[in-house]
Symmetry: C2
Subunit: 347 residues, 2 copies
Amino acid sequence: MSRTEPRATGFIPVSPPTLADVAERAGVSRQTVSNAVNNPDLLRPGTLERVRQVIEEMGYSPNRAARNLRTRSSQLIGLRVAPAQEGTANAMMDRFVHTLVDTSAEAGYHVLLFAGDNEDPVGGYENLMRSTAVDAFVVTDTYLGNPQAAWLSEHRAPFVAFGRPWDDPAATHPWVDVDGAAGTRLATEHLLAKGHTRIAWIGWRKDSPIGEDRRAGWLGAMHDAGLPTTGLASRVEDSVQSGAGAAAVLLDESAPTAFVCASDTLAMGVLHTLWIRQLAPGTDIAVVGFDDSQVAQVFPVGLTSVRQPLEDVAVAIVRALEDLLSHLPATTSGVLLTPTLAVRESS
Amino acid sequence: MSRTEPRATGFIPVSPPTLADVAERAGVSRQTVSNAVNNPDLLRPGTLERVRQVIEEMGYSPNRAARNLRTRSSQLIGLRVAPAQEGTANAMMDRFVHTLVDTSAEAGYHVLLFAGDNEDPVGGYENLMRSTAVDAFVVTDTYLGNPQAAWLSEHRAPFVAFGRPWDDPAATHPWVDVDGAAGTRLATEHLLAKGHTRIAWIGWRKDSPIGEDRRAGWLGAMHDAGLPTTGLASRVEDSVQSGAGAAAVLLDESAPTAFVCASDTLAMGVLHTLWIRQLAPGTDIAVVGFDDSQVAQVFPVGLTSVRQPLEDVAVAIVRALEDLLSHLPATTSGVLLTPTLAVRESS
DNA sequence: AACGACTCCTTGATCGTTCCAATCCAGCTG
DNA sequence: CAGCTGGATTGGAACGATCAAGGAGTCGTT
């Protein structure tokens, strides 16, 4: 009687079996089937086996909408994707999304992408939260003082940030980040070990906390080695042209033998300048980039680059999400991971 | 009475308002509120206005799970992401996903990413379909004779493919693809217009229908121009090294003045060889790649490349999905779009 | 023999929405 | 004025799962 007549008619796709269908066929109650799926321990082994077999036979999977409605959870994690824009190297995001999807799948979650609107950055979040479409969010762009983290905190929406709360160290939300300073320190020490002493820095303008963090790693390593840094640093915007320009100026004025850059994009610029000047990367002048992007890997001269452990970031984020959603007291509020160095021909 | 006491207690996030809450406050029935949201035309203007105001006041959004359960649709589109793997240039996928998310948002859909397992390529699809978690799928990797399209067709799962059904021209599912041959023809004709006559081809092995398609564009353009092609083509696997090797051989044996490549990866290899031989791309030898990937854009010498109209692909896919899900007769089964040429310094 | 404790399973209610059929009401017709 | 029409609104049922109680049945204890 749960399978009324009109449901099986016509060429319209036949509805999948329900809990009640399985129950009837197995000669047990709905709840028992439910338990077979969600709490197998509650059933006697014999019953469990029988129910499982019927489930298999009928190809039953719990209807997600019904389950979501009842349990008030969707097993979905929302991830905002910025509007498609040209040029910006988001190959890193690609790697991150892949690992996030893989990792959260293991924890029983799927990833829901939603469109971001630059005009109204929190609109998408609000919508999904109010309609209880996702259980939590992963927020990735916490760098510029964007209002998302604050807004989500205020509205008590569960979320984990990829990126430290730079502007508000007192923020209480969980976050995972990569230690940029440790990365550039790694790069600089690698160059020091190779015998370089005049190691230049090309980074971003002062208003980027991430940029300042990365710069600090270079500066610290140089100071620890007792080396001077005056005239060896420059701050430009993140583009190939700017990187090329900065490299040209530094080469003319300070004669460095190596460059550490805040991004692969800037490093590309350096390589460009070297190329024009007929200097061989790696032999004449060493170059290290940041992010280990696609370009670093395929460039005719492989670019040594600081590589973020995005797999570990994804794992940490998913773990934080699980803690958050199980209403456990958060184990820790922030996790800081250390990058590695992918060494190639350019250094 | 719909708002029982315990719901508003404690620090546990207060439940969002429901249809019934809005109805009570507005002094109308649930159904009327529902109509205000979904079928405004059915309401008298005055009523509509009043209900809308209450909705606004209370910050009401329909609960997605409940709606999904009742309507048997989730407004979600499933997209499988291949397991994270190193090296393969999927920056194109990145661009595609962005535009797909944007486009489907306009049509009221979100994109659900799910993990793919190489062992069991259809497992993820089956799961989501049986649990009615998504309304349809977008399948992107139809190149190698993978079983997904066939499996989905067989199980009557709604889906649209990005990529032609090469192995089965009789397949009836909707698809959208980019005309690779037209792209390489465009590239070749661009080079012909620049005065080149000895234009070489570096492509993939014969078992790739996409590769053969792209090759055909070059071949056709050369034939149409009455130019010989013997000794000017080579087939290798898709890697920088292979491209570099092929370029070296071709330069030695056939003295081409230009290269058309089946991918940016191969074009990178060509540039590498030119670099080693101190030949200037663009002035000495012209090079054209395929996909307009990140590397093409930032390479010290900008790489001319065939650019797939991924935005248009996304739009066409979403349109096909809408047709499919509204149970309209599909307007057309397949859509073939023409790429453009992004001209840079290398040609 | 009665009782509680425990295991295993079942029953009714519920989540929040939309579908369906029924009802109300004003305006028109004959 | 009854009868009809059609637009606006309503109440009950259903979607398919889980939750919260409650019943059998078995066992050991008093």
